[in-house]
């Protein structure tokens, strides 16, 4: 392609390719191979005696513990109770978070009041407040749901506010120029436009809810994945403990996949 004249003679050289790279290609097979490899190595390390099972139970014993949980019917009991707590806590927390986030995004007063409050309260560790929470709300379902809801509330507020702030102003101006009532502007322009940000917030809040189910079930719970984990930890039953962790991870993966599917449907327009 390139012709360079050197000493009167024309020399032709091919231009070397220097682009490419810097793009993540989907390679699902790699994930599975790496995952299987780690598990195999782990099992090997224990079978060969390199790692003391006192410190780390083997994958086989974790699977055994999971199997025991399943056949005894306890798994379903723990799961159903925890899912009810996670579900109601998440719904309440993200519902309120959406309302507060939108009000803060829409009104200057809401923002002026809300911003410092959110910044001040969000980083408070909920577990440190458990004694107070118990004093206020007792030890029934309420404090458990409130623990999860309060953890979900703040990331939702922040994501919603960011979503509302990112709504293109010209869309609002367009809606106003057609005399759309304020309520319609919120429902038809603002919320759909903020939806990607809100859904991204849901990813965080769903993980938060899973994290907090353990904290929530510190409060007088006999059943639930969190209670199961805590008991296993207290009794140093490391296979049960890891089985509980696996269940939480699977729940996390499941919720993540659910949200991805939801995004695919709701954000098809992007």
């Amino acid at each position: 392609m390139t012709e360079i004249t050197a000493g009167g003679a024309s020399v032709r050289r091919e231009v070397a390719f220097r682009g490419g790279g810097f793009i993540a290609m989907p390679k699902p097979a790699y994930s599975w191979i790496a995952f299987a490899g780690i598990i195999a190595l782990w099992q090997l390390a224990i079978s060969a005696g390199w790692i003391d099972p006192v410190f780390l139970p083997s994958p086989a014993s974790i699977v055994e513990a999971l199997w025991q949980l399943t056949v005894s019917g306890d798994l379903w009991k723990h799961l159903s109770i925890s899912l009810a707590r996670i579900g109601s806590g998440w719904l309440i927390g993200s519902g309120l978070g959406l309302i507060v986030g939108v009000s803060m995004g829409l009104t200057s007063a809401g923002r002026a009041i809300g911003m410092p409050l959110v910044s001040a309260i969000y980083p408070v560790p909920k577990i440190a407040l458990l004694p107070l929470l118990i004093l206020w709300l007792g030890i029934g379902e309420t404090p458990k749901v409130v623990t999860i809801a309060s953890g979900v509330f703040f990331p939702t507020v922040i994501a919603t506010l960011a979503g509302v702030d990112s709504v293109p102003r010209n869309l609002i101006a367009m809606a106003q120029s057609f005399n759309l009532p304020t309520r319609s502007i919120v429902w038809k322009v603002l919320l759909p436009s903020a939806l990607p940000g809100i859904l991204a917030g849901f990813r965080i809040s769903v993980s938060t809810a899973l994290l907090l189910v353990v904290a929530a079930e510190m409060i007088g719970a006999q059943y639930g994945i969190g209670a199961f984990l805590l008991t296993a930890g207290n009794l140093m039953q490391s296979d049960d403990l890891m089985a509980g962790v696996v269940i939480l991870s699977i729940l996390g993966l499941g919720f993540g996949a659910g949200l991805t599917a939801l995004e695919r449907v709701l954000l098809r327009w992007r």
Partner: protein, 257 residues
């Protein structure tokens, strides 16, 4: 229906943007507004359309809007301002949703607007599936659906490539000449101004003041004739000389945002 703009002054905080702008646009008349970047053209249009409040001044409508007009002052936006999650027909139908209309009237208006902009086959498409030119057609259809009396256009073609722009400009002209609408057309582009406008308002650099108003004495339909070429070229030179000095100074200003 006429629109009368009488802005004494408009400023953003300390930044004076517009001063002493008086323009009257009559029914059926198209006024192009041209001026260097940042001189306040979009601000002026926003004020005219009632979505910006002037620091001092008023805008009036005079006369009667057509009987089926739902939104006398209607915008067409430079960046189209389409809702990306709505299909073409849903976007076009948006301005009708809060009006009490019979289903048949609603559908007829949408169908008519789509048909006049050549979008009938794209009713179910999402904006992301359309080219820039088609998207602006959706913006135009959305404006037509309310049967406006005054069309406010802020550089509606500047986001498009040159060929699309030329094609769409003819369609625009067609629409504007067939309705008895008043039109304000903001542009950077002399060709557009000379092709579409009955009068051209030239603004000075910021703070924008009316520097000159040029009347183009040739009817739009005759402007493609050979005979019109020379006088139009002359008007073009005139416009360019009016704006050149302003533009070169404006270009060197520090932007105050």
């Amino acid at each position: 229906m006429d629109v009368i703009i009488d802005v004494k002054r408009h400023s953003y905080d300390d930044l004076l943007v517009l001063e002493d702008i008086k323009i009257q646009v009559r029914e059926g008349e198209i006024v192009a507004v041209i001026g260097p970047s940042g001189c306040g053209k979009s601000t002026l249009l926003g004020i005219a359309g009632g979505i910006l409040k002037p620091s001092e001044g008023k805008v009036f409508l005079e006369g009667n809007a057509p009987p089926d007009c739902l939104n006398p002052l209607t915008f067409i936006f430079q960046d189209f301002a389409l809702l990306p999650w709505r299909t073409v027909e849903q976007n076009v139908g948006l301005p009708l949703e809060h009006h009490k209309l019979s289903t048949s009237d609603r559908q007829a208006r949408i169908a008519d607007a789509l048909q006049r902009t050549g979008l009938s086959d794209f009713a179910k498409a999402l904006p992301k599936q359309l080219s820039g030119g088609m998207r602006q057609r959706v913006g135009i259809a959305r404006a037509l659906v309310v049967k406006p009396a005054v069309l406010l256009m802020d550089e509606p073609l500047s986001a498009l490539d040159a060929q699309t722009r030329d094609l769409l400009m003819e369609d625009f002209l067609d629409l504007l000449l067939h309705e008895r609408m008043a039109g304000i057309y903001i542009t950077h582009n002399f060709q557009e101004a000379l092709r579409l406008a009955d009068r051209v308002v030239v603004l000075s650099r910021r703070p924008g003041r009316i520097k000159e108003v040029l009347t183009i004495p040739i009817p739009q339909l005759e402007r493609t004739n050979k005979a019109a070429l020379a006088p139009l070229a002359e008007l073009g030179d005139r416009l360019w000389s009016l704006i050149r000095d302003e533009a070169s100074v404006a270009d060197r200003e520090v932007i105050h945002d």
